[in-house]
Subunit: 373 residues, 2 copies
């Protein structure tokens, strides 16, 4: 992975998050004139042929990368994950019942918001475990008549990830699975046989804040509540090719450049998404192995469901937190402070974080331990 001549610091922000240098450099170079059009991308009519080409290419590249089947629509929307917490039940619940698997802060928020629109049932929760392990699917109390089952497939704050999506059919549910994949989209393949709808804000792995990706199976369109705003009605958005209202054009452009960057990645014999997944596994393993081997640092998440993207960890002596963070900044390691609801540290190591960045973090952690233990 190339770095600029003068390397930038490594940015471990949970989102908005680090982006590939190559994407940023390309965007800067095209800022006043996209491919000889005489216009920057922000200045183009969304209905013109130039932006139409950008949007069509972005959708095609994402469909290729994630192997999205033909019977799924890819929608570019606004409102982020928190917006989707309302938009999903407005579109899918039919005012009836939906099941929620509580695994951390984000699924808790999704459940709370859905109560405005339907009976939101908690089918399982790991709250008693402080969101450090996933409830066994065999224990989920799924409703007979749920309109959908909601799962946050990677909890950004608690660092808990489904390493395999639940097979609802095998659990006796006929409901479609909805996954909030905001913080690990495009870090690994998606098993679309198990998914009815996936949504995610772009600001972790795909692009800037303000773009929301929704991938939805076609039979789930057309059931929105009357009070669903037209701009957030999946069928309306799909029927208009994500241009019912003016889409977040810059976000789509940057995400499109990121998709092209992802397609170009290689790791040994692997390319594209497979290369990224291999790299993400290697990055996460390096960091977790170091933490587990050290008496100085601790990660509390069960190894079976540790996130490859978001690694919360603690110093065994939390009085050293400030020293750790200021030393990290001096070492060019940014935004490592943990979420306020969890405390400690958090290293978000999304696609744009190279292995070298995780190596630099581990080196710093080792040196900090050596000098403070």
């Amino acid at each position: 992975m190339t770095r600029p001549t003068s390397p930038r610091p490594y940015n471990f922000s949970a989102g908005p998050a680090a982006m590939p240098d190559a994407v940023l450099e390309r965007a800067a170079s095209e800022m006043l004139d996209w491919q000889g059009s005489g216009m920057g991308v922000m200045e183009m009519s969304h209905r013109g042929k130039e932006f139409g080409a950008i949007c069509t290419q972005a959708e095609a590249d994402l469909r290729f990368l994630l192997a999205v089947p033909e019977n799924f629509h890819i929608l570019f929307m606004q409102g982020g994950g928190l917006g989707e917490n309302a938009i999903v039940p407005m579109n899918l619940s039919r005012g009836t019942r939906a099941d929620f698997i509580i695994t951390g802060s984000w699924s808790t928020k999704s459940h709370k918001e859905a109560q405005r629109y339907c009976t939101a049932n908690i089918a399982a929760t790991n709250a008693a475990d402080q969101h450090t392990r996933l409830p066994d699917p065999a224990s989920w109390r799924l409703s007979d008549d749920a309109s959908y089952v909601h799962v946050c497939s990677n909890e950004t704050i608690h660092g808990v990830e489904f390493q395999e999506l639940p097979d609802l059919a095998a659990l006796g549910s006929k409901a479609p699975l909805v996954i909030d994949f905001s913080s690990h989209v495009a870090s690994r393949p998606v098993d679309w046989n198990r998914v009815g709808l996936a949504f995610g804000g772009a600001q972790k792995n795909l692009g800037p804040a303000g773009l929301t990706i929704v991938i939805v199976r076609d039979d789930l369109l057309g059931h929105a509540l009357d009070i669903c705003p037209s701009a957030f009605n999946y069928k309306t958005v799909a029927d208009n090719g994500s241009m019912y209202n003016t889409p977040p054009t810059w976000g789509i452009y940057i995400a499109g450049l990121t998709f092209q960057w992802l397609r170009a990645q290689t790791e040994g014999e692997l390319t594209g998404m497979a290369a990224m997944e291999a790299r993400n596994i290697a990055k996460a393993r390096l960091l977790y192995d170091f933490i587990d081997a050290s008496p100085f640092y601790v990660n509390k998440v069960d190894p079976s469901c540790r996130s490859r993207m978001n690694v919360p960890f603690f110093l065994n002596d939390e009085s050293r937190n400030d020293a750790f963070l200021s030393g990290a900044r001096e070492a060019g390691l940014l935004q490592l402070k943990g979420h306020k609801s969890v405390g400690g540290m958090r290293a978000s190591i999304y696609n744009a974080m190279p292995l070298a960045g995780v190596q630099a973090l581990v080196s710093y952690m080792r040196e900090f331990e050596r000098s403070h233990a």
Copy 2:
């Protein structure tokens, strides 16, 4: 107004629209490193001190430019004008009644969408005049009990602008006035004594698509319907300083650069918004005067309410439309095709369009007339 060494074409897009070169050049230069932070703006946590400074400054600059009183909140949201067509009645209607003044495509859409949430009364309409003149406020049939009165203060498609906002109190209404000022925000001052809420997409005069500006009087917060999504509840957004959910950070940054550019403008002894208004008056007058003096071109809007921002016009012989547009492109005059619902041509001459751009358009129109008349 400075142009780059190799001048770019003049871009008359109705939106997303031309932006100041200086804003784009600054954004490009800071793409990988904002002010020595080691991060680009798209890569910053919205809760970090760097983006906090950007957002605070943007809000302060907008408040200064538009002379927004202290009892109004400035909100940075998502969803655009079409989103606000639902978000406004979800927040303000209390499920009761609202009055709409129909003056073109946008107010028509606002009225239609509001019917999901309240009794949406058409208090006046210019449909019989094909949206070419504004209905006299003295003729408006305002409800006694309207929760608000909606006006699109500049109709982008039909080119109709309120040169003075209606004084609802003088008309006997106690309802707050809601204005959709998407396509002329920051082109002229706003009389806040007459306004309860103003909203607009940023993609005409302020920045990229995906950022929505809402300016709302504090007594209008806190009355949202239960079915209003949290992310679109004005009180929730205001209480969280526009950071209840991740805001469109890049859009806020670009809008902030645009606000700084606006503050720096001068025109004779005028500065900032006053300078822009004077420039916009001069630009519009040049184009309308030319059209009115020519038998070859026509603008059908009543002179009392012609938009300074969006100038729809027609060739008297529409068989020449394609030749006009292709010649314009060759002359470096882009995106002049009219909206499909109106036809003909449309020149959008927002803040970022210099007088020289309008002069170039008039020169081209004169030459085209000379060679085709």
